[in-house]
Symmetry: C2
Subunit: 245 residues, 2 copies
């Protein structure tokens, strides 16, 4: 008989074990730096083989929830999620999400500039020399003749990240990095003419100046121009594609 509708076991064992441990971490029953039982012990406790436990642990490691170390005193430890790890995870997720779901370019641009505009007042109030230095340096690179379109985009990303960092709020920096970097693949599809680059560098200059002078209102105006110009470039690219096709 053994009806035994204990728990719905639709998911595999390794998934269930990973979920159990993940929940324990999120609920604080396992704290940072705490060592989990060894793989053999876990296998015994859950009543599964070591291979199954390992697959579960690999899932958690992929999410930066745990970290493993060999040798005696080794094992799996609850990992303190760093900004860097979280940043990478967010960028990966956002990039794939946007890359695989043909989101309208307009939506991405709108989201990015809306959020960036929100950071501007804080950035203007709190900017430090180190942020302005990065911004100026990137503008200089954007004016150089021999950079590829890809390098130009990468420099653009660094410029805007410096701007976001100037707001001096780690949570904002984290969130902004997601929207800014996930847009890079889309921006990479644009071919920048020399006059486009010059225009963008000029706008960046104006933006840096406004932030430097702590004039949030002026900075906002420049940012809006930058947003419009980005949309124009993308529209131009679309037209070019349409005629050649």
């Amino acid at each position: 008989m053994s009806i035994a509708y204990d728990g719905i076991n639709k998911e595999g064992l390794s998934t269930q074990i990973a979920d159990a441990i993940r929940t324990a971490i999120m609920e604080g029953r396992l704290v940072v730096e705490q060592r989990l039982p060894s793989e053999n012990e876990l296998a015994e406790r859950f009543g599964v083989s070591r291979a199954t436990v390992r697959e579960a642990l690999k899932r958690l490691a992929a999410q930066n929830l745990i970290r493993t170390q060999r040798g005696p005193t080794g094992g799996a430890f609850v990992n303190r999620l760093t900004w860097s790890e979280a940043h990478d995870a967010l960028v990966t997720t956002s990039t794939l999400l946007i890359g695989m779901n043909d989101i309208p370019f307009e939506d991405v641009v709108e989201a990015r500039f809306t959020l960036e505009a929100a950071c501007l007042p804080l950035a203007a109030a709190r900017r430090e020399d180190k942020h302005l230095e990065v911004m100026r340096q990137e503008i200089a690179q954007q004016r150089m003749k021999d950079v590829s379109d890809e390098d130009f985009c990468a420099s653009d990303v660094r410029f805007h990240r410096a701007l976001a960092d100037a707001a001096d709020n780690p949570v904002l920096s984290f969130q902004m990095a997601g929207v800014i970097e996930s847009m890079q693949p889309l921006m990479n599809m644009i071919t920048y003419r020399m006059r486009d680059r010059t225009r963008i560098a000029a706008l960046h200059d104006a933006l840096a100046d406004a932030v430097d002078a702590k004039k949030a209102r002026a900075a906002l105006k420049v940012l809006n121009e930058l947003s419009s110009y980005t949309l124009e470039l993308m529209a131009a690219r679309r037209n070019a594609r349409a005629t050649t096709a």
Copy 2:
């Protein structure tokens, strides 16, 4: 001799294999819904055992990059990342990040309300009945006498998510969900007196009214009050703790 510095093998084999496949997906060499070779084939190609391949695949599955299916015609398929999956990943990451790195509460509140304020003009312009209905409904629940603090917070989260959704931009909704939900554990630590709840519900009411009337400026003012009030509540909680301790 066999110096063989082929690739730096500091990382384990399963990690390297996972990275190789992940890169192939991110670079578009593997496209959505494409089937990967079977585990046995992958094991042969990479020159490792099936167990190692499986650990690599589990890592990718944990990041929602692939999906596996049994049976003939089964295998591992490149997964189209859905908004829901990405949302869950972002919330998990943000929540852990904030929970494990004692970020100042002020920073989190500032980030959340700054970003939310940025969404307000869009929300006021585009709000539809469905968003307002959700907001009104949640306000009603917040006024009910017998809801726990936790339920009150959950309702608050739903209210603000509806507000973000009203901006009608999926990228914004995605980003906002991250800041809003990751703040919930912090909000849960607050004990809400009846007058606190009444005040918050009143502010929510005013916010909904302003958005309903498409008055972005008015809504912004209310949101700022809400932000200040949240900080006050948190400060009060901190004082209470300090005196009892």
